[in-house]
Amino acid sequence: MWAFIHKLGSPKWFFGISTKLQPWFWVAAGLLIATGTLWGLLFAPGDYQQGNSFRIIYVHVPAAFLAQSIFISMAVSGLVFMVWKIKVADMAAAAMAPLGAVMTFMALFSGAVWGVPTWGTVWIWDARLTAMLILFFLYMGIIALRGAFISRDSGSRAASVLAMVGVINIPIIKYSVDWWYTLHQPATFSLTSRPAMPAEMWLPLLIMVMGFYCFFIALTLMRTRHEILRREANKRWVQVLIEESR
């Protein structure tokens, strides 16, 4: 069993398996996002209160979900790296951080734009928005911290610690709409109850969320592969790979 886990952590093995898996996730991402986009923009009925501006939900919610999930993944990868010294985990964490930051920005931007017709403001210092802004700063901090050290290993360890510490922000974001009196509406999806909106509205949302997740996996696999090539460039298997791809 330890042999299997050891194999999991091998950059060469990860490179091979991610090369095989990547195309599937790209295709899935493309199909899901295309379907969700067409359905959400063209076919979902307009909201009786917000009219058509509610369609922003189809980019805002997936981006927000991903922003949080990616941070959790980074924290888990950081833990795996620190505890079990598995370098691939750190490579994946390095690959994920910019993507997570972009997702957070997408959520903040689309939310701000949505706020104008809905709330009459681009911003308000309520719990969820503030916590998401803090998440964005955490991402930026992790990216900067990783690169701020002379030794790569030091940078990786510092970034891992910051990710693990910062992950406390995620349950704060998630439960902020329950704990505090906020402007931001409560969750659409929950594990236990039916969504408060009709199926023609939340089905495309679910599809978009799944599409974004597939996009995240595909892109992270791709970027992690690049990181592996960079770090393992002097290894024999990489050189063979390069020779064979002439």
Partner: protein, 82 residues
């Protein structure tokens, strides 16, 4: 369909500016992410092939060519053999 015509679709019931700027920025960023990853891949290929051609296989890992802040993060040292 929720819209009777293309102009209605673009207008989004008066909320066109908001819907399209939110969707537009999101779409552009997603495309930029993909584009950057492809660019990174091409650049890596070129660099690794050049290295192989020049026969510099004795170099330590950590290629020093800067690509972007994100990709560059962690490329600091050249003495990082495990």
């Amino acid at each position: 369909m929720a819209f009777a015509s293309l102009s209605e679709f673009l207008a989004m019931g008066g909320h066109g500016l908001y819907v399209w700027s939110a969707w537009g920025v999101t779409g552009l960023l997603l495309l930029a992410l993909i584009g950057h990853a492809c660019f990174e891949q091409r650049q890596l290929r070129r660099t690794l092939k050049r290295r192989a051609r020049l026969g510099k296989a004795q170099y330590k890992s950590a290629l020093n060519e800067p690509t972007s802040l994100a990709a560059h993060a962690g490329q600091r040292d050249t003495c990082n053999d495990p």
